[in-house]
């Protein structure tokens, strides 16, 4: 008798997962659809939309711009965030706590607000839109994730490992290189991949900081303003798959110790970061 309600919950949970994935699946399915019509059922399998879109100069330059912006964002946010995370985890003071919550504030604000603030600053100081203004906007929203992930890693491993190394005669520099860095490297890498993924798809801030430069999301946005065009499915699929691929790659790179547990730990870490 008591089985009925849990089963209802199972149905609801299943429906919600379908709801989350349905639109994503539709994009991918129709990206490989040979017909030009976007109605059910699709006609046949083809990569014509991909070859069509890769033939376009505007798309290729958008892909290049987005990739470089995402790489730059991952590096800058990774360096700034990791350096700051060390201080926050190992030498917390009133100032570092203040900076920790201050860095999280932009994530709570609508990206629109960040975007127009940057517009105001660029207008005031006569800064022309460039790759750097795009990256600056992306670093604002990705650094908090890096800090969160690296700080939680630094706080959660056994500091006795470092003390033991010191007791055995290792200099602080050796401890850092041989103990601390290897322990936090997977988290730093994971955080940078998340920064890459967020940056690659960012459009709400980029719209204000890019000037005439067109990133991949901005390319999709300009196409959306026109008619529905099946080749957008192919671009949207790339927008989806590149970040996923990056995350998958990060998992594979860490496979040396990748038992089920580390994967689970990483997933929970991501969940907590969100």
């Amino acid at each position: 008798m008591t089985m009925r309600r849990p089963r209802l919950l199972t149905v609801i949970a299943g429906a919600l997962v379908v709801f989350i994935y349905l639109p994503l699946a539709v994009v991918v399915v129709f990206a490989f659809n040979s017909g030009a019509n976007l109605s059910w059922p699709p006609h046949g399998v083809s990569v014509r939309w991909f070859s069509l879109i890769f033939g376009e100069e505007a798309f290729r330059s958008g892909l290049t711009t987005s990739t470089w912006a995402a790489i730059a964002t991952a590096v800058v946010a990774g360096v700034i965030g990791t350096a700051a995370a060390f201080v926050m985890a190992r030498r917390p003071t009133r100032v570092t706590r203040w900076l920790e919550s201050g860095s999280r504030l932009p994530v709570m604000l609508p990206p629109l607000f960040i975007g127009i603030s940057l517009v105001a600053a660029m207008k005031t100081f006569a800064i022309d839109p460039s790759m750097w203004t795009i990256v600056a906007g992306h670093v604002i929203v990705t650094t908090p994730f890096v800090i969160l992930i690296v700080v939680s890693r630094l706080r959660n491993y056994d500091v006795a490992l470092e003390q033991a190394a010191r007791d055995l005669g290792a200099t602080p520099r050796v401890v850092l290189r041989r103990i601390t860095f290897p322990l936090i490297a997977p988290s730093v890498l994971g955080a940078m991949v998340i920064a890459f993924a967020i940056s690659f798809d960012e459009v709400l801030i980029t719209n204000f900081t890019s000037g005439t430069r067109v990133t991949l999301p901005l390319f999709v946005l300009s196409r959306l303003r026109r008619t529905i065009d099946p080749s957008i499915n192919a671009v949207a699929t790339i927008l989806l798959l590149v970040p996923w691929f990056a995350v998958a790659l990060a998992f594979v790179l860490q496979r040396r110790r990748s038992t089920r547990q580390t994967v689970d730990a990483r997933v929970e870490e991501l969940a907590r970061a969100a």
Partner: protein, 288 residues
């Protein structure tokens, strides 16, 4: 390993410098702009409260405010309620499927925002998949117009976008509750709904509060979904209005003033939600 004071200062200064130059200065500039006036399409430094006056008194902007609320509030509530159901399932009910579903949710978190908007547009269009399915099943003769260019369409797409996020935040909160607690309450005779109201919801109150506000703010500030999925009336949100002032109309002072009015209204929502949740016993009464 302890850090020397000098090394600590060196390591944290890039973050401080960056936050100062890329966040603090720009937001201050935006605030200053809201007191400027427009002369020959150029913002002129000065001090006038005309922009704020125009926003607060105009009935047009009141309509924008109401429409923004009618999109952001349902989006936030639906995202959190659905996210709670899914998170509860993940934390307490799922066994073999838990790992798989958790990974699926994290992957969906990285789902592209624009891909979703585009997909909902093709799904709900007049000749889109929903309508062609409905017609094929003879459930309707003519394409349903309400599926697209309506408030419903905007809210649906936004809930779709925020659901993985609310699910994971609430999961992380629920999974820290000992599973035995629920069983104990049930053993002591509490009904399911009572266990939910008296045990689970209060213990995840902070996460509920944070997730609701987060989704509400982001939905209210979204200026792309309402344009592509909303109709003439339902696309008129504060987000689209502000974006318009700063990218098309180029009335920076007015756009800045609207943005700060929106932030002030956010504070009202924060206080209202906190009071409401405290009255409902979902948030502790004493914490500040």
């Amino acid at each position: 390993m302890s850090l020397s004071r000098r090394l600590a200062a060196f390591l944290i200064s890039p973050l401080g410098l960056f936050l100062g130059l890329a966040v603090l200065v720009p937001v201050s500039m935006l605030f200053a702009f809201s007191f400027f006036h427009l002369h020959l399409l150029e913002p002129v430094p000065g001090f006038t409260v005309d922009n704020y006056h125009a926003v607060v008194t105009s009935s047009l902007y009141r309509k924008y405010a109401v429409n923004t609320f009618l999109i952001a509030a349902p989006t936030a509530i639906l995202s959190v309620v659905a996210g709670y159901a899914l998170a509860y399932f993940l934390a307490f009910r799922a066994k073999r499927s838990r790992r798989f579903l958790l990974i699926a949710t994290v992957i969906a978190l990285m789902g592209s925002y624009l891909a979703l908007i585009y997909s909902w547009r093709t799904l709900s269009g007049e000749h889109g998949i929903f309508n062609s399915l409905l017609q094929a099943m003879h459930l309707t003769d003519e394409p349903l117009g309400v599926l697209l260019f309506s408030r419903v369409a905007v809210v649906t797409a936004e809930v779709n976008f925020f659901l993985p996020f609310t699910t994971l935040v609430l999961f992380s909160s629920l999974s820290s509750i000992p599973p035995g607690l629920e069983a104990a309450a049930r053993d002591l005779g509490a009904s399911r709904s009572m266990t939910l109201r008296r045990i689970l919801l209060p213990l995840s109150g902070t996460a509920l509060f944070g997730a609701t506000l987060f989704v509400f703010f982001l939905s209210a500030g979204d200026y792309i979904t309402p344009v592509f999925l909303g109709g003439i009336g339902s696309s008129a949100t504060f987000g689209t209005l502000i974006a318009d002032q700063l990218s098309t109309t180029l009335n920076y002072p007015l756009g800045a003033a609207i943005a700060f009015v929106m932030l002030a209204l956010f504070l009202v929502v924060v206080v209202g939600l906190r009071l409401g949740m405290r009255a409902g016993g979902l948030l502790p009464r004493h914490t500040g």
